[in-house]
């Protein structure tokens, strides 16, 4: 009897050792507030899943994108979970670089709870390649105290002409208050993110149905003219190096009367630790001109798994946890309802405690549901995307055009010259990439 038990000891020890063997998964993510919360709360995940340890690589968005793209395209296998957006997901899904994620989801995950536009944005040919972590659109931020003092009222859906009027009335640089802050820093995800929505709502489009660049059209001219005039007359100095962050700092320190940018900044504007205007800010829809479809943008940061990962099963468990309803409730418990990741699930917006803690929730939901990346403007387009064009070449195109628009804003060139050079640059790139001869 003893002899037999001794033989059984070895496989038992082996089994115990293997069972306790830890899998380490490495996740690459952006250093935004919601992801930092996810990092902190991942200790909960590790407690519930003692066989998994999560290693974090946290970088700024542009650096992260370059790093992660280099790795996935060369099959470097450095990461098991990637944080990517609605821009990359369809492109990489098409190339077969990402694992498919709409199959074998646990019961209770409730994929139908995910907002449709977000889900579509993360799919290719109907297959989901990333699970959404948070979603956003854009809207208008404005200062209630300044509007009241000037006797102005912000409509629920302002037009760009309204905004121009308000900016003029509220622009008091001698008091350190600027009429309007809009992104000016060059970059496909910086100034061009905003300007694309402006162009689309003015009725312009990036490309026609045969993929010919349209930057020399009257709609582009009108939109950029409007932008340059508005910001030069009523914006803060130095705007050409102000991206999302800098504008956010300006608005939070009370320097701007209005700001049109991402909905995710709203919860921070309410936080007195992050903003001096916590009790003086309100919101309205993003300004519209001719075409309402593309006046606000649509973006989601989502978690995906490269097919070259060695730990697909564990990675799936992690991202299913991080994008679940339970996770949202966890954040509500630890950080309050105002801090839960917004814009992904309808159930979040049906939760009365969330709506109470986040007065901007209703507008955010409206904006996300109104954004239609497949029809960003009133004329048909061959591309998908409102604040970007979902083609690989767009990062370079967007940055080049962004630099030229910033030059026009700085007064180094006229709008006409800038757009002509931009049209040339985009044509060169598109021709080289083979979209047309």
């Amino acid at each position: 009897m003893l002899g037999l038990r001794r033989y059984a000891l070895v496989p038992m020890l082996l089994a115990a050792a293997l069972g306790r063997a830890e899998t380490r998964i490495t996740i690459a993510t952006v250093n935004n507030g919601d992801m930092i919360i996810m990092q902190r709360l991942s200790k909960e995940f590790e407690k519930q899943n003692p066989d998994i340890t999560v290693n974090w690589v946290i970088l700024e968005e542009n650096v992260l994108r370059a790093r992660v793209t280099t790795d996935i395209a060369t099959r470097g296998s450095q990461f098991d979970v990637l944080t990517i957006g609605t821009y990359e997901t369809p492109i990489w899904g098409k190339r077969g670089w990402l694992a498919r994620l709409d199959e074998d989801l646990p019961a209770g995950y409730d994929l139908d709870d995910v907002l449709r536009p977000i889900r579509d944005g993360l799919s290719y040919q109907g297959r989901l390649y990333a699970l959404p972590f948070y979603g956003e659109s854009s809207f208008t931020f404005y200062r209630t105290d300044l509007f009241e003092a000037a006797g102005l009222k912000m409509p629920d859906q302002p037009a760009w002409d309204d905004i121009a009027r308000f900016a003029k009335a509220l622009h008091h640089p001698e008091k350190g208050i600027y009429g309007i802050c809009l992104r000016g820093k060059p970059g496909w995800g910086e100034n061009m993110g905003f300007i694309s929505t402006l162009v689309h709502t003015f009725g312009g489009r990036w490309f026609d149905e045969s993929w010919r660049p349209q930057l020399d059209t009257p709609e582009w001219r009108e939109a950029i003219d409007f932008y340059v005039k508005l910001v030069r007359s009523y914006g803060p100095p130095g705007i050409t190096s102000d991206g999302h962050n800098e504008c956010r700092a300006l608005f939070a320190t009370g320097k701007c009367a209005m700001w049109v940018d991402a909905t995710v900044a709203a919860s921070y504007m309410f936080d007195p630790a992050e903003s001096k205007v916590a009790d003086k800010v309100a919101f309205a829809r993003a300004p519209v001109r001719k075409s309402p479809a593309g006046c606000q943008w649509l973006w989601s940061w989502a978690l995906a798994i490269p097919v070259s990962s060695q730990h697909t099963k564990e990675a799936k468990r992690f991202i299913q946890w991080a994008t679940s309803k339970e996770y949202i409730r966890l954040v509500a418990r630890t950080d309050g309802w105002a801090a839960v990741p917004p814009g992904t699930r309808r159930s979040t917006y049906e939760e009365p405690r969330y709506v109470k803690a986040a007065p901007f929730a209703g507008l955010t939901l409206q904006a996300i549901l109104a954004a239609d990346p497949s029809h960003p403007t009133d004329r048909p387009v061959p591309y998908f995307g409102i604040q970007y064009v979902a083609i690989p070449e767009f990062q370079s195109i967007g940055t080049q055009v962004g630099q030229l628009v910033a030059a026009a804003l700085a007064g180094d060139t006229t709008v006409e010259q800038a757009l002509r050079s931009a049209q040339q640059a985009v044509e060169r790139t598109m021709r080289r990439a083979g979209y047309f001869q």
């Binding site: 690459a28 507030g33 946290i58 970088l59 280099t70 099959r75 470097g76 962050n245 001096k276």
Partner: protein
């Protein structure tokens, strides 16, 4: 006597304002680490404020400072030692036994640094992937050695040429072979130069932010990756960035201060003559 005291006072009055102006951005960074985020970016800029440790706490809690710091130390000091080991004999040979090919060799060595790293990222990444060196301290250490070697050789070469030949020749005439010549004559004489070189190599490796971000993931990430995670997120971050940066340069400043004393000690040789 009075003249030297007057000169000393004059130089003090000239040098200190310059030093303070040059140091000001760093001073501002140090101070901002103790402000709240909103205070850090508001005007008018405040010198008097209630200091808080919340940024340091947030930074400490969020990222594994110790692991990153250890990686930085291993990779920077390791690569500097390796580079010195390779460079000392080479610089010695080139400085004291120059040939026709010395000049072109030196130039060629420097030219290996002329290719912008971003242009060669993908080839190196592919190479490292195939050699299994991605996200490894060894890999990063090797890269830093190679990246700094030309600088170290150049600087050692320069400092060696400053050594007065007479002293070495006197030693040679006393029968010292090259080994003893290097160890007991050359090294002490050029110690300030070697220390400066080592200090600069360590700093260059410590602050190198391209390869360290692109070739590492979670295991081998040094302090530059730690810093990068506090840089430009969505939202106000300058106070936390200042705190993180202070934590990142603290080890280097201590090292720099210690080697300063070496520099001072080595300098007294000039008076011995």
């Amino acid at each position: 006597m009075k003249r030297t005291l007057r000169n000393k006072a004059l130089f003090t009055a000239a040098a200190w304002p310059v030093a303070l102006v040059i140091f000001f951005p760093i001073f501002w960074m140090l101070v901002s680490g103790f402000k709240t985020e909103v205070e850090a970016v508001s005007t008018p800029p405040r010198l008097i404020f209630r200091p808080t440790l919340e940024n340091y706490a947030a930074v400490w809690q969020r990222a594994d400072y110790v692991r990153h710091a250890v990686n930085s130390v291993i990779v920077s000091v390791g690569s500097t030692l390796l580079a010195l080991g390779l460079a000392l004999p080479a610089a010695y040979a080139m400085a004291f036994f120059p040939t026709r090919r010395t000049k072109p060799t030196l130039l060629w060595m420097l030219s290996t640094k002329m290719l912008p790293p971003v242009g060669v990222l993908v080839p190196i990444y592919l190479l490292f992937r195939d050699l299994g060196l991605l996200d490894s301290r060894v890999g990063l250490l090797m890269v830093y050695t190679l990246v700094n070697l030309p600088i170290v050789i150049w600087m050692l070469f320069t400092f060696f040429k400053e050594v007065p030949r007479e002293v070495l020749e006197a030693g040679r005439m006393d029968g010292a072979g090259p080994g003893r010549e290097i160890a007991s004559l050359l090294l002490p004489l050029s110690l300030p130069g070697i220390t400066s070189t080592a200090l600069l190599a360590v700093i260059l490796a410590w602050n190198e932010a391209f390869w360290s971000l692109n070739l590492t993931a979670a295991k081998a990430a040094p302090l530059t990756a730690f810093m990068a995670s506090f840089s430009s997120p969505e939202g106000l971050f300058w106070a936390k960035l200042s705190a993180a940066s202070t934590m990142a340069i603290a080890p280097i400043v201590v090292f720099g201060w210690l080697s300063q004393r070496q520099l001072v000690r080595g300098l007294t040789f000039g008076a011995i003559k």
